[in-house]
Symmetry: C2
Subunit: 339 residues, 2 copies
């Protein structure tokens, strides 16, 4: 199903041009018209076709064309297309190197989009794209260094220093989801053990709660899942923790200890101005943030070194919500929404 | 006592000029004449006078003047003085903000040295200075991103990205010595608990070995220290580990687990080309490096993400030895030994 939102009334001026920002994932593609001042105009979202690279590219170009047509903006006013995609991306060469979600390997995305649309295109990995969006227009607005951390079904990070993405020597800077926090801990999708992702991402939270239930501990979770333990999600764990359920509270405390641990290490390693949290787990809100901040505050109260960087506003939730993907993608177009 | 070394024969050419690099600490000041190609010429070392900022500054200028006089180079060929000092340094403003070792607070070092010597001067914190030296002339030569980690009586790090020091939002980037690795672990000098430094720096290694001895475990360490448990050092622990002593081996394994833990996190966080280790603990050599690399190799064998960055040459020992301080200091002078 295609959903359309139009806020284009405020975008009458075609003066400094527009960009189409596209956020493509394994299940859907979202695209939006973005003005030079970071306003989101006409947006569209439809299912992604992953039967092949050309099918996916057709989905993406279809979304771009629908945005241009639907917004009523002259094609000549479109300065370019920015696209965020999951997986490994070679942004300089414009190549989608590998994406499990899209089923891509070595797809010359920039060249194909340019051929299909006749517009300049830029691509970047989606977490890095979102980090750019938050840095330019969201919770990091006005700052030039930040760490962006998504905790959802996986854990991925991106680092912006001096207003630019740090990609790292092997293009994996920010991949702390696969830093080992617990020796011989639970197996991770990456093959490692005790990775941050295998301890604190949504599925890991649910699995730990299930493990406690299977030991016979009683919990409101059992009512909430209707006895179907396999259906327990991290969201249910946070929900029952909010109701004071001891098993859920313990699971949340463990999760927040891992998160706080990672955050203080990042803060002392690269010392960013802020750390921005996004994804389904931080969306639990106070139930998640309060135990994380409590730990960091205690550490700052004790350590004269950590106290030099930590203050409660240093760790903040993402501000762009669902629009972070298309807004971040718009920042990829050179000279548009840049610092 | 003042010691003098002269290798000045190879420094006859005065063509592209020289820099005097100075490494000042709480106990001594070392200075050397450095040529444009990174050769160390005439060097001098004498005790530091810490009875006051002016006394320390006189020690530093005395060392610089002795190097200029002793090397026989025309003063007009000296392009500047670079100085590394311990503590918190505001390099941009040229201020020694705070140094426990030197007893300094808010000392306008650059301005005073400039007045006293009539030469352009630049200052930087000593660990960062050493990192620049290794990056430009040592184990990181030819590379533009590295993490430099000193494990000695304390633990301090410095990060070079795109050929430049990353100082961080609060001037504490690289301070992972005060990252908490063990909740409620041993108390650290910074006031925190379970800091990396409180677990893996030299005094922490010695303290952990002593703790094991006090539980009655037998060990070759008891012979080596002549029964004076308080005199045990990290060096003794590595020495007896090399002789197969179980207590010492266990202490070394624990230490190397903490170090490997920190290294993999750094590698996945900022993804530098190399991590360079310096200080007394890594100087234990194979006895230290082998257990660290064994852990990292195992993690890389399991994790497809970590395997993208880890290879045994990624973690290496510093190459400049005792000259790292004066060589690093020489790189501070703009246009001299820069990338």
């Amino acid at each position: 199903m295609t959903t359309v939102n139009s806020f284009s009334a405020r975008l009458i001026s075609t003066e400094p041009g527009y960009v189409v920002g596209v956020d493509a994932g394994g299940s859907k593609v979202a695209a939006g018209l973005i003005s030079h001042d970071g306003q989101v105009g006409f947006t569209i979202q439809h299912p992604m076709d992953t039967r092949g690279a050309e099918a996916s590219l057709a989905c993406i170009t279809g979304a771009v064309e629908a945005v241009i047509a639907g917004s009523g903006v002259e094609r000549s006013a479109i300065r370019g297309v920015g696209l965020g995609i999951p997986g490994i991306v070679d942004a300089e060469r414009g190549i989608g190197v590998a994406s499990a979600n899209l089923g891509w390997r070595e797809v010359p995305v920039r060249q194909r989009l340019n051929e299909l649309l006749g517009l300049p295109c830029e691509i970047e990995e989606d977490v890095r794209t979102a980090a750019l969006g938050e840095a330019r227009l969201g919770a990091g607005r006005g700052l030039d260094s930040l760490f962006f951390l998504v905790i959802g079904t996986g854990i991925a990070g991106a680092l912006i220093l001096n207003g630019k993405l740090l990609k790292g020597a092997d293009n994996i800077a920010g991949e702390i989801g696969h830093a080992m926090l617990v020796a011989d801990g639970p197996r991770c999708k990456c093959g490692g053990r005790g990775c941050f992702e295998a301890l604190a991402a949504g599925p890991a939270i649910a699995a730990r709660a299930r493990g406690k239930l299977e030991k016979g501990t009683s919990s409101l979770l059992l009512n909430l899942c209707g006895g179907d333990v396999a259906s327990i999600t991290a969201k249910m764990v946070f929900e029952t923790a909010g109701q004071g359920d001891p098993l859920a509270l313990e699971t949340v405390e463990e999760t927040c200890e891992y998160v706080a641990f990672a955050l203080q290490f990042i803060a002392l390693d690269v010392n960013p101005q802020v750390i921005i949290l996004a994804g389904g787990v931080p969306r639990a809100g106070r139930q998640f943030m309060e135990p994380v901040l409590r730990r960091l505050e205690r550490q700052a109260a004790e350590s004269v070194v950590f106290s030099q960087t930590f203050h409660p506003e240093m760790v903040r939730l993402s501000a762009l919500g669902d629009q972070v993907g298309v807004l971040g993608a718009a920042t990829l177009v050179p000279g548009f929404l840049e610092y």
